[in-house]
Amino acid sequence: MTPLLEGLNSLLDISILLYMLVGLLLGFMVGAFPGITATMAVALAAGFTMTLEPVQGLAVLLTIYVAANFGDRVPSILINTPGTPASIATTLDGYPMAKQGRAGLALTMSALVSAVGILASLVLFALAAVPIASFARDYFKSPELFALVVFGIAIMIGISSKSMLKGILAGLFGLMLGTVGTYAATADKRFTFGSLDLVEGVNFIAVIIGLFGIAELFDQLLTHRKSHVRPISSLGRWWPNRSEFAQSGRATAVGGAVGLGVGLIPAAGGDIAGLIGWERARKASKKQEMFGKGSIEGVAASDTASSATLGGSLTTTMALGIPGDSVMAVMIGSMIIWGITPGPTLFTDRPDLVVSIVGIMLVATLLSLGLSLVRMKGMVKLLDVPQPYLWSGILIFCIIGTYATSNSLSTVITMLVFGVVGVLLKRMQVPAGPVVLGLLLGPLAEENLARTLAILPTRPFFEVVSPIAIVLLVLAVLSIVMPAIRAARKPRAERASFADSVLDTASITQLSKAHDELAADPDLLTSTVRNPQAPKTRRFRKNSKENKK
């Protein structure tokens, strides 16, 4: 049987559809709840899917990945809070649209262009994944593989950290965790402290759920305030008219191109792509001045861009073993448990997987689009679920999910420990991505470094270390040094938040102007139930910097 038929055949199982439905509901919900990210959901689901067949497990995890990408737009548009980081840019124009009573339109447009973005990126995955993997398989020997791992961790550090030094420390911490257990080459035991649980290394599902699940939960417990924000409930017209479609065409194309490109950069996800896509579309637009004030083009551009990263992320993850974004970092962990290691040899060993993955993503996208269009009204109610239900639910599922991986309570304790470590790291602005990546890829790096060092004395240097390895190492250095230099050149006040660090000064000025104009307009809808007592009791820092923002 050809791989195509084999891949399709494995999808023709009713259980796959059921797993996808579970993933769809779960993904949509986690997307819609601000504070539960797709990474957290996939980490949690990893605990429960490890006993499944790889294709079944992929059906759950990939569908969560896709559906969360649709669900997270809802709170961005209705309460100005991104459901997951990937929809940060949607708030720029989506929320102003909702304030003008055009929320329905924004939601529909967002769902449509998200589907377009994902489908376009799937074509990229289908076309590029196998050639990239074969290239890597043929030309990547130990030195190149070592360089590739270093590059992957470096770019994750460069993208996810504000302070490069803290990012490097995070990566090193992960690599150090990766050294716990038995050293494969000589069977020496390292850092096991006589514990049998540690002989096979640190349980990475426990680490992942701790760092992405429990740590997020603890951070919410720390920072939660009573919110007066209620979703905007007057949604207005749903379906865009012809001129609105025509208007959004160019923005969608620009956003899609940005998203496809950004997606192929390892570790760069939808959040960055969305912001860059929005900015590029603004520059290319005929109605530049409308951006930030509820432009449908702005919604189209940011959502196409952030959704179009999915295929690219999948490509680098599956073909090179270097995660395209943080969800994919977690996914690699699950795949290793199923006995399929993403990397250059994956598609040689399992050519049918490309077809299965494309099939799952395709169906998941269409299902999510359908669910998005059927009715968002129910979703609005979902945003009102009281936090205590959410928190206690997340905690117990994290505990059971971790326990399920090993049937041992020590794993649950490991998870809680990493939850505490994770929240401390988060408060110190140390990113969790490089830690997980270091833990997952560390053994691979060590093994390939060992082989390289073993061959090195026997042959001339440049015969062993090819130009590919050197280029990768140079890129690794650049991906840490460049952001540091760029940050150092920006005035301190301008490198405040994440969005500010991605967007250029003109965009930031336009946004704050638009924001002020909208705030000054009394006729607009508002999502805030103002409490007349609030100004007296509020605790707000009268800091000059804060007010300047």
Partner: protein, 175 residues
Amino acid sequence: MSSSEVADSDEYQSATPSRALEIAFAVVALAVTAGYLMLTTQISLRREAAPGQIDARFWPMVLAVTGIVVAIVLLVIAITRPPSGREDIERIQPGGVMRVAATLVISIAFIALWSLGSVILFGYRIEVFPIAAALLMAGLMLVYGHRRWLSLIIYTASLTAFIYVVFGMLLRIPL
């Protein structure tokens, strides 16, 4: 990127930069990496590595030394430069630390109870997990400020039953 509309209590509140915290972090990082280095030197090798091969200590040593260098640089920066902004981190709210501490204590108590497995009481063998899980849920809901008794009992009982049936019975996880 936020506006001047700060009077709103729903507005995002970021954490304050703190030099003391940055220094403390750098010191902890230094201590951890130094501790790791010490442990690395104590890894017992079963046999010497062959010429050209790297032994079990080599890679951890590389990581430890790099880590120490980075931690020292971080410490120097923390002492000499103004603390970095924390605009992307939300401010800790009053009661937040208590909530986390209580959650941890309740979770640990839950794990301790759960580790009993089953107890024999009045001649009956009773599974501890469902009881412990229900107590965990109820405890957490109370800590998080939920005060309506009826919904507390219904939610706790139904979620516990759901978990026990789905994971314990259907997925056969030995809870």
